[in-house]
Amino acid sequence: MRWLRRNLFSDVWSSLTTLAIAAGLVHWLPGLIEWLVLKATFRPDAAACAAAAHAGACWGVVAAKYRFILFGRYPYAEQWRPLAATVLLLAVIGVSGLRLMRPGALFAAWALALPAFFLLMAGGVPGLSPVASDRWGGFPLTLLLATLGMLLALPLAVLVALGRQQSGLPLVRGLCQVYVEAVRGVPLISVLFLASFLFPIILPQGFSIDVLVRVQAGIVLFAAAYLSETLRGGLQAVAAGQHDAAAALGLGYWASMRWIVLPQAIRAVIPSLMNSAVSIFKDTSLVTVVSLYELTGSLTLALSGDAQWRSFYLEGYLFIGLIYWLCCYSLSRFGGALERRLAPGSLP
């Protein structure tokens, strides 16, 4: 009673707001639940879905198409491979996040998991038939683009952020600055166009690289500009005395960066880095514009060619929306937990 009074009915305005929202909920919620659950069709039965005429959701479209949505055009009989690869990569990410391993072991785990991921996906060894990368799709592709995007962009971003601090090297500093400002000024789609249309022209003849690699490179270049801007903030937060102390200990530039400055700088910006990770994960959905069928693209591919299910896109969008949401929400919650753990005062 006291709780109600304090949190919902503290004064006239609060009471009115509570009543208005409650009235809205009473008005809308039953219809929503009816559509989502009570009148919904769960069987993969197109006729039943059509008969319901959108009075209830047609989850049958997910039941009928989930393998295509999740794995894209990967050969049907071989789809255990992308599944295993995805589980493996997710496991390594989870282990890294929960700090279950010592750094050395963790490095080894990554060094094993990434080649294993590519081996499972691409095949070409006895027992695993080769699958060309243009057949890769769905969630494994989303996860790959996001993970590699973050992993490869981070070192590049560190170099660029350090480059922007070189007051003694105006050329290096200017180059880094132009790169960061130019990339941050343009939309990701134009960078993806660049990767998909222009990279083939600027590379030597007979040196063609896969469109997946080109798009991945585009994502890395794009993400690195944003990450380096974040890291620059972290570098500026490191007290000048730290540099002096490192120099006094006789450490050279790279050693003092590696052991003294960067650990503090990165720790200071971990929450923003996690936000960037969420952005990169969401941004991978844009590669569907340059014809790579990750989660969003494979949904379109699954439904657009099928007249039976074509009118149930909304349910499909809700399904993959839930997948994206689960990934991004857990990433940002993890970022929040890190922020609390690293907050000043909680460190030894």
Binding site: S10, L171, V186, S190, F193, L198, T296, L314, G321
Partner: protein, 325 residues
Amino acid sequence: MSGRRLRSFALQGAVAVALALLLWLLFHITAANMRERGIHSGFGFLLQPAGFAIGESPLPFDSADSALWALVVGLVNTLRVALPAIVISTVLGTAIGLGRLSPNLLLSGLCKAYVETLRNVPLLLQLLAWYFVVTDLLPDSGAALQIMPHVFLSKSGLAVPWFGDGGAFAGLDLPVRGRFGVTGGAALTPEFLALLGGLSLYTAAYVAETVRAGIQSVPRGQSEAALALGLSRLQGFRLVVLPQALRSIIPPLTNEHLSLSKNVSLAVAIGYPDLVSVADTTLNQTGRAAECIAVIMAVYLLLSLLTAWASAWLERRTGRWAQRP
């Protein structure tokens, strides 16, 4: 010259040489590739007829007009979505950000749910879903929903009263629902509606977080001091908290507006003819990849620069406002 100076001089020289070599190599290879594939270069194509139609255009355009004019139409279409979306998302986002700070748990919970849902789902997916809702789930034009007198919503878009052919003096042309659909007035296309709605709702979630963080950055002691001075809660918020909060809200808010205008480029996925999708069509028609991408990037860089200037000006102004007694 000291050793240190010499070293930095040598390092920079090496970087300059490497850069020049790389650029020369890129230029050489690209030129050779283009010769081999018979691709011409140069911006001359901009003055040739575009050769394609544009779905909707506030300016007169047909396929005989130049590609340059097509790109201008695209840019106008980009701004036509971006400017109203900036206004809507700022107003809505501010309301939601304030709602999250409300002592009323139901209201703050609802606002939090909004922010956490929309921020964690890709914008592209949201746009596709809105576009599908507008074009597939709304009634046909003949059975259009009437939301207000003379405002109709249907698969063909939103029909609103607009000035007749004779300009403002001819009076308003009112849409009417007939047996074969809605006629009269001005129609906002489904593509425009989905893009405007999706962008505004998505960006509002980010604006809400910016506003919340800005207000929370003002120490609680400030509003307590205002109360102690005898100001009312509202006065205290308006005269003491808000001016201080604005200083930390405006820079990130400008960033949100900039990223909104970059996000208009997702229009290409739902077929709204913004700058990027017109440039994409031109690219496919003429094969001038480098030139078309250069146009997109140049326009967006210019837009960012202009916004940066505007934001610096605004910051100076609000800085003065905050210092005012």
